[in-house]
C-alpha cells in the first residue's frame, strides 16, 4: 500500500525544480498548514468512524449495549434511546443486510476512507513539495465523505427522523478535511508545463484508496461473528403459534397480499419500537413478500391487565379506534405512528382529549369509542396473546406462524426474514 516512493518517481519535473520554492518560497508553509488541517480532520473522522464501528460490532452478539452519542471523542457510552441508536438500528446504517446478519456498517467504509485521507494529507504535508495533481487528488478524495455526509444527513433527516451525534462529528470532519484540501489546492501553484503523469498518479492513488477500503472490508468479513441456525435462534425462530386462527375477528389487515407469506405482527399503536420496526420492515423491501395482518396488544394498563402501569398511555384508545373500524385500521395506525409522541403526551395529560382528537380525525369511529362492544374486542385481542402464551412485549413478528426471535427484529431483520421467507418455499 505504501506508495510514497512511486509518487516521487512520477514527478516528471526536472529534479532541480521545486514547486514550493521556485518563486513560491513564501507559500511553502501555507500549503503545509491546510494539509495538516485536512489530515487532522480526516483523523478525527476516522476516530468517529471507529467509534461508530465499535458500537455497531458490539451489537453483533445480539445483545443490547450502551453506545456512544457525543461529538466529544472519548465521551461515555449511553444506554437507552438516543438518536445514535435509532440511526444505528435503521436500515441505512449498513449495507448487504440480506447477506450478513447486521450487514457491513457504513462506518467501516468511512473508517477506511478517513484513514486513507489522513495518510495522504499527512504524507503531502510531511513531503513538503506537493504537486498540484497530488493535492487535487486529495481534494477529490475528501469530496467523497462530503458527498456521503450530505446523503446520509438527508436520509437521517427525511427517512430516519433522528440524528446521530457521532455521525455529525463525521460530517464536520468531512467538511473540514475538504476545506483544508481546497485551501491547499488553491495555494498550490499550477505547474508551468502539463504533468503527463498526473492521470496515472491519480489512478494509482484511487487504486490505493480502494485497496484501503478492500482490506478493511475483507478483514471485517473475515472476523464477522456467525452462529449456526438452531432452535430459539435466527431463522429457526423462537416458537410457533398454537392458536393462529382468529375466532374473535380481531386481526387488522395491514397489507394483505394474496399468495404472499402470511404474517402477523403483534403491536401497540403508540409503541415507538413498533413504529421503528414498521419503518425497518418497509425499508427492507421484504414487507412486500408478506401478507401482513396485525393483532393489537396495547401496553396500557387501562385495558391490559398484564401490565402494571401504562407504558404507552392512550394506546387503549387508539386500539379501540382500530378495532371499531377494522377496514380503516391501517390508516389509523399510520396516523398514530406519525403523531405518536403528541398522542402519548396528550393521553398522559388527559385521555378524554385524546379520544376527542381521534373522533375528530376519524368521525366514523366516534360512536363506537368506549362502547362495551369495542372493549370486548380489545379483551379478545389480548386473549389471543394469552391463548398463544406470548411474551408481554411489542413488537413481535410471526412469519407463517413462526415467531421471529426478538434479537433478530432490528439489525438482523433483513438477514433473518429473508431466510424465513426462503424456508417457506
Amino acid at each position: 500500500m505504501g506508495r510514497f516512493d512511486e509518487f516521487e518517481a512520477f514527478d516528471d519535473d526536472p529534479p532541480e525544480v521545486d514547486h514550493d520554492t521556485v518563486g513560491l518560497g513564501a507559500l511553502a508553509r501555507p500549503v503545509r498548514l491546510p494539509l495538516i488541517v485536512a489530515g487532522i480532520a480526516a483523523l478525527a473522522g476516522a476516530i468517529f468512524a471507529a467509534t461508530s464501528t465499535a458500537d455497531f460490532t458490539a451489537h453483533l452478539d445480539r445483545q443490547v449495549h450502551a453506545i456512544h452519542c457525543s461529538v466529544m471523542p472519548g465521551a461515555d457510552a449511553q444506554m437507552g434511546e438516543s438518536g445514535c441508536r435509532t440511526v444505528m438500528l435503521s436500515p441505512y446504517s449498513s449495507w448487504f443486510r440480506s447477506s450478513y446478519w447486521g450487514g457491513i456498517p457504513v462506518a467501516v467504509f468511512a473508517l477506511a476512507v478517513f484513514a486513507f485521507l489522513a495518510y495522504r494529507a499527512f504524507h503531502l504535508a510531511v513531503k513538503g513539495q506537493p504537486r498540484r495533481s497530488e493535492v487535487f487528488f486529495l481534494l477529490a478524495g475528501t469530496g467523497l465523505p462530503c458527498l456521503m455526509s450530505a446523503l446520509f444527513g438527508y436520509l437521517a433527516a427525511t427517512k430516519v427522523g433522528a440524528t446521530c451525534t457521532v455521525c455529525v462529528g463525521m460530517y464536520f470532519a468531512s467538511g473540514f478535511a475538504f476545506a483544508g484540501a481546497l485551501v491547499a489546492f488553491l495555494l498550490t501553484r499550477k505547474a508551468p508545463t502539463p504533468d503527463p503523469r498526473a492521470v496515472r498518479g491519480f489512478a494509482l492513488g484511487f487504486l490505493e484508496g480502494c485497496g484501503f477500503v478492500a482490506v478493511v472490508f475483507l478483514a471485517y468479513l473475515a472476523f464477522m461473528p456467525e452462529v449456526k441456525a438452531e432452535k430459539g435462534r435466527g431463522p429457526a425462530g423462537c416458537g410457533t403459534l398454537v392458536e393462529a386462527a382468529d375466532p374473535g375477528g380481531v386481526f387488522i389487515d395491514l397489507a394483505v397480499r394474496p399468495g404472499a407469506t402470511p404474517s402477523i405482527e403483534l403491536l401497540d399503536p403508540l409503541c415507538p419500537a413498533c413504529r421503528a420496526f414498521d419503518g425497518r420492515l418497509a425499508a427492507s423491501g421484504l414487507g412486500d413478500k408478506l401478507s401482513q395482518r396485525a393483532v393489537l396488544f396495547p401496553l396500557d394498563s387501562s385495558c391490559n391487565w398484564m401490565v402494571k402501569s401504562s407504558l404507552h398511555p392512550g394506546a387503549c384508545a387508539v386500539t379501540e379506534a382500530m378495532l371499531c373500524a377494522p377496514a380503516e385500521g391501517a390508516k389509523v395506525l399510520e396516523w398514530a405512528f406519525a403523531h405518536q409522541e403528541d398522542l402519548t403526551a396528550m393521553a398522559r395529560a388527559d385521555e378524554a382529549a385524546l379520544r376527542k382528537k381521534i373522533a375528530q380525525e376519524f368521525p366514523g369511529v366516534a360512536s363506537c369509542l368506549g362502547s362495551p362492544q369495542v372493549k370486548n374486542k380489545i379483551v379478545q385481542s389480548l386473549r389471543w396473546a394469552v391463548a398463544n402464551a406470548l411474551p408481554v412485549l411489542t413488537p413481535q413478528l410471526f412469519v407463517n406462524g413462526k415467531r421471529m426471535c426478538d434479537e433478530d427484529t432490528d439489525l438482523g431483520l433483513e438477514y433473518t426474514l429473508a431466510r424465513m421467507l426462503e424456508a417457506r418455499k
Binding site: 460490532t57 451489537h59 445483545q63 471485517y220 472476523f223 379483551v379 406470548l390
Partner: protein, 209 residues
C-alpha cells in the same frame, strides 16, 4: 476491529438465546389477590358442575349448586363479597324475566369489563313471594335472559365457554339487604330484601383456574 468482532463472537457463542426470553412475562389470565386456594377450589367445583369446565351442559340447579359448593348460604354469599368492585346486580320486575334497558346496559358494561378474568358467573335468584317451584323457574329464566342478551349483543366466541349460570330460586343463599349498597341496575329505587333477590348477580372472577 478484529478484537471488537472476535469479542462479539465470543459473547454470542457464550450467550443462551432463551435466557432473555425467559425474563419477559408471558401473557396470561388475571389472578387477583382474593383468589385464595380455598376460593379457587370452590370456584372450580362450582364451575365444573355448572358446565364451564366440561361438556356436561350449562347451568346448575339449586340443589346441585348447594351440593357442589358444600357451603352454607352465608358461606356461599361470602364467596362473592370480595367482588364488590367487580360485581353488578341486575334487577328484575316481580314475576318477570325480561331485562329492562338499565339491566341490559349493566350486563353489557359488566361483560366488557372482563380484563383478564376467566369466568363470568350469573347467579340468579327470586324473592320468596310465590311458590317455590315457580320461583326456581323464574330464577332460571332470569339467568337465561342474561346469557341470551350477551349472545345477541356480542359476537364473542368465548361466551359459551366463559359464562356459568346458577339459578338458586328462593331456597338457597338469599341476598341480605346489605347488597342493596352494591352496584345495581335500579339505583335510586327502594331496595329491600325482596327487591334485591329479584335479580341476577353477575361478575367476572379473576382467578386462573
Amino acid at each position: 476491529m478484529s478484537t471488537w468482532l472476535r469479542g462479539a463472537e465470543r459473547r454470542l457463542q457464550a450467550s443462551d438465546p432463551t435466557a432473555a426470553e425467559e425474563e419477559v412475562a408471558i401473557a396470561s389470565v388475571a389472578e387477583d389477590a382474593y383468589c385464595t386456594p380455598r376460593l379457587k377450589g370452590i370456584v372450580r367445583r362450582v364451575a365444573g358442575a355448572c358446565g364451564l369446565l366440561g361438556d356436561s351442559g350449562r347451568g346448575c340447579q339449586p340443589m346441585q349448586a348447594k351440593q357442589v359448593a358444600q357451603l352454607t348460604d352465608d358461606e356461599f354469599n361470602s364467596l362473592f363479597r370480595p367482588l364488590t368492585k367487580r360485581a353488578h346486580i341486575v334487577q328484575f320486575d316481580a314475576d318477570a324475566t325480561e331485562l329492562d334497558p338499565a339491566a341490559r346496559g349493566a350486563v353489557e358494561a359488566a361483560w366488557a369489563d372482563q380484563r383478564g378474568a376467566s369466568f363470568f358467573f350469573v347467579v340468579a335468584r327470586a324473592s320468596p313471594d310465590g311458590k317455590t317451584d315457580h320461583n326456581g323457574e323464574l330464577s332460571a329464566g332470569r339467568a337465561r335472559s342474561v346469557l341470551d342478551h350477551l349472545i345477541a349483543r356480542f359476537k364473542d366466541p368465548g361466551i359459551e365457554k366463559q359464562v356459568g349460570l346458577l339459578w338458586l330460586g328462593e331456597d338457597f343463599a338469599q341476598l341480605g339487604e346489605e347488597f342493596c349498597e352494591w352496584d345495581r341496575s335500579r339505583k335510586g329505587e327502594p331496595c329491600t330484601a325482596k327487591e334485591i333477590n329479584r335479580s341476577a348477580f353477575i361478575a367476572w372472577i379473576d382467578c386462573a383456574i
